[in-house]
């Protein structure tokens, strides 16, 4: 599964898009666990002390922030879904 990273996360993963080998029926939460296992430096960027995604971190599945999907971070990612991960961003 391909995951796109943005802004300050890119230097950590070393590029824009990274391929992760996950089984079928992987949920957003499981994918995030796989990601931080492979890139341990991402843990403190993405997850709080309780292991939950920070509210300012965005894991988009087809452009929608996972917490707002009907099943939240338990949403199963389908083949062909676009996954984008952003740190906190703001400007104006």
């Amino acid at each position: 599964m391909q995951v796109n990273f943005y802004a300050t996360l890119r230097p950590i993963v070393g590029g824009r898009t990274v391929e992760f080998h996950v089984g079928e029926h992987v949920t957003v939460k499981q994918l995030v666990d796989v990601i931080v296992e492979r890139f341990p430096r991402l843990r403190k960027e993405l997850l709080n002390e309780d292991g939950n995604l920070y509210p300012h971190v965005h894991v988009f599945i087809n452009g929608r922030d996972a917490p707002y999907l009907p099943n939240g971070v338990e949403t199963v990612i389908k083949p062909g879904d676009t996954v984008d991960i952003f740190p906190a961003v703001a400007g104006g």
Binding site: Y6, A7, T8, R10, R16, Y54, P55, H56, V57, H58, F60, N62, G63, R64, D65, Y68, T82, D84, F86, P87, A88, V89, A90, G91, G92
Partner: protein, 609 residues
């Protein structure tokens, strides 16, 4: 005046008579409206809201706030306040750099300019005086050459030059003032007002003279605490760590596009797809970034200086590829060439045009071309970079169809017989957030007192979870609660714009930090509740001005595209902006009647007796 912190000196310049008078600030006004934006609007109200923006009677205010030029971080902002020829509303547009600090160090809280000179003039401000000087030698010059001319005349040291370019001289309705080559007070056509007065530049020469706080004991800890919040906010503002510091404002391009909230091709669609990456902050950093300039007292350094490495503009070094103009002249025009984006922004900085606004008449022309509405009047294709550059010149010089486009997107859309193509509110083009994908921006644009604007109430901070002012993360696609949220943001920003602190301080600082710094500098009591109350008063003052200027019931609207044409892109697919629902909530929170401030509210806030 009993208040500390202020210079308590405003220059009243009459260009018709060729006179300058110096007066203090009425203390009651300083207490109620603080400075910069708030105080400027109070002077505008005194001048009369019915004034024709391009008549000599219009007032043009260059305003500082009580924190400007102090040790407070991000305090290098100046507000230019006037009645806008683009919108007909009161407007205030801020710029960074060092001119605001130097104006304060030269001994002023503001310059109020009225009348019209008999020939081109500039103001030379130094040592507590303002001189009206002949500007014939620089009239007709671009801003970069104008800055060079004054640097040669007065020496570069301790000098700031705020100037208009040919666009302002030619009364382009969205012409702007540009400070120190590339820091623009972009929005609202303040440079057009300068051109109508034959005022070419404000040249300020002053060495550093940090203002003293009235309450020194309270000032140090207040200033330190505010600075610590900026340094510690590691996600956004922390120097060389936070996204704003590392990538600049253009760190937003990819996320808004990915979530279906990037108005693309004149807002026909809500995402630029994979092309967004090519004009993003990440791309700029990797390919053309050469420096990270900053403003007075700012450790964030969000400005991004670039050098074009290839193509027709190879070698051009300019600042700054910000999110807003990169969107306006990029995604909005179907243009994914970052070099052309940089070239066009630099042209705006030299001709003195609002780079957010310029994209609007261009994209109207492009959509009119696509739909066959141009009636044999040539055409402009999406993303035609060479034609865009040529059209920008024609607009600044008011040549050919550029003469129509120089009056803005609404005039351009009307010219083609299709006013619905103008993505404007009260005549001003919408910024880079599509209100179908970020609903808060819809109510923010509609109710902004200066026409469509993202900076009156920066709701993406809450909708993207950055959460200042104790607000909670809110769903960008939900409309409920956004009316109330916008009111809070409008009020807090009205206060910080009156101090005058950079808006980006709000990603780390809260009303507590604003209140503590203001209280210590000026020597008054101020709580976070007072911040909201004073901000509310300023926001109502502006609305009162606009009501008197003719903006009555029903003046708060959005282009129909946002409320009637659902988004077709991932992230916001199927969504329109529920403006009516949010307006009802907003007016209830404001205590307004369909956009009009009732007398009882004006009395409650102390705006009228």
């Amino acid at each position: 005046m009993a208040l500390g912190g202020y210079a308590n000196r405003i220059a009243h310049v009459d260009l018709t008579a060729g006179t300058v008078e110096y007066r203090g600030i009425p203390e009651d006004w300083a207490r109620k409206y603080i400075g910069a934006r708030g105080l400027g609007v109070r002077y505008m109200l005194e001048n009369g809201p019915q004034v024709d923006p391009l008549s000599p009677d219009n007032l043009l205010c260059f305003m500082n706030g009580p924190l400007t030029g102090t040790e407070a971080n991000m305090s290098g902002r100046m507000a230019i306040v006037t009645k806008s020829p683009l919108t007909g509303t009161v407007t205030d547009s801020h710029h960074g750099g060092w001119s605001a600090a130097r104006l304060r160090w030269a001994g002023f809280d503001g310059l109020l300019v009225k009348g019209k000179a008999s020939g081109p003039v500039y103001l030379y401000v130094h040592d507590g005086i303002v001189e009206i000087m002949d500007a014939s030698e620089v009239w007709g010059k671009g801003i970069h050459d104008t800055v060079k001319f004054f640097r040669e005349r007065y020496g570069e040291k301790d000098l700031s030059v705020i100037a208009i370019g040919p666009a302002g001289e030619n009364l382009v309705k969205f012409a702007c003032w540009v400070n120190e080559n590339d820091r623009a007070s972009g929005r609202g056509g303040t440079g057009c007002v300068g051109g109508s007065k034959l005022l070419k530049a404000v040249v300020i020469k002053s060495a550093k003279k940090m203002p003293k706080a009235a309450n020194l004991e309270a000032w140090k800890p207040a200033q330190k605490r505010a600075l610590a919040t900026i340094m510690d906010e590691r996600n956004i503002t922390s120097p060389r760590k936070g996204g704003l510091s590392v990538y600049g404002t253009n760190v937003l391009m990819n996320i808004t596009s990915a979530m279906g909230a990037l108005p693309t091709k004149n807002s026909m669609v809500t995402s630029f797809g994979p092309s967004a990456e090519k004009i993003s902050g990440e791309y700029v950093k990797e390919h053309i970034l050469v420096d990270d300039p900053t403003c007075h007292a700012c450790p964030v350094a969000c400005k991004k200086e670039v050098e074009i490495k290839e193509g027709p503009w190879k070698g051009l070094r300019m600042e700054s590829v910000e999110y807003e103009p990169a969107w306006s002249l990029g995604a909005n025009c179907g243009n994914d060439d970052i070099n052309t984006v940089a070239k066009l922004i630099d042209m705006c900085n030299d001709y003195g045009m609002d780079a957010i606004e310029l994209g609007h008449p261009l994209s109207v022309y492009m959509e009119a071309t696509e739909r066959g509405y141009t009636n044999g009047d040539g055409g402009l294709a999406w993303g035609d970079t060479m034609a865009m550059v040529e059209m920008a010149r024609k607009i600044a010089m008011r040549e050919g169809i550029g003469n129509v486009m120089a009056d803005g997107a609404e005039a351009t859309a009307r010219y083609f017989g299709h006013p619905e193509l103008a993505m404007t509110v009260k005549g001003q083009g919408v910024p880079a957030y599509d209100p179908r994908g970020l609903k808060g921006m819809g109510i923010a644009y509609a109710t902004s007192n200066r026409g469509a604007c993202h900076l009156r109430a920066y709701t993406p901070a809450a909708e993207l979870g950055v959460m200042p002012f104790g607000s909670l993360k809110v769903d960008p696609l939900a409309w409920k609660g956004k009316g109330e949220l916008v009111k809070i943001f409008q009020d807090v920003h009205a206060f910080s714009d009156s101090l005058d602190l950079c808006k980006f301080s709000a990603f780390a600082e809260s009303a507590e930090e604003y209140a503590a710094q203001y209280a210590a500098m000026v020597g008054v009591e101020c709580t976070p509740e007072d911040v909201l109350k004073i901000g509310e008063r300023i926001y109502n003052l502006e609305r009162y001005y606009n009501n008197l200027a003719g903006f009555r019931e029903g003046s708060d609207y959005l282009p129909a595209r946002f409320t009637q044409e659902p988004s077709t892109m991932p992230g916001s697919e199927g969504h329109v902006c529920e403006l009516d629902e949010m307006l009802a909530e907003y007016y209830a929170a404001r205590g307004w009647v369909n956009g009009v401030v009732p007398e009882s509210k004006l009395r409650e806030l102390g705006i009228i007796d």
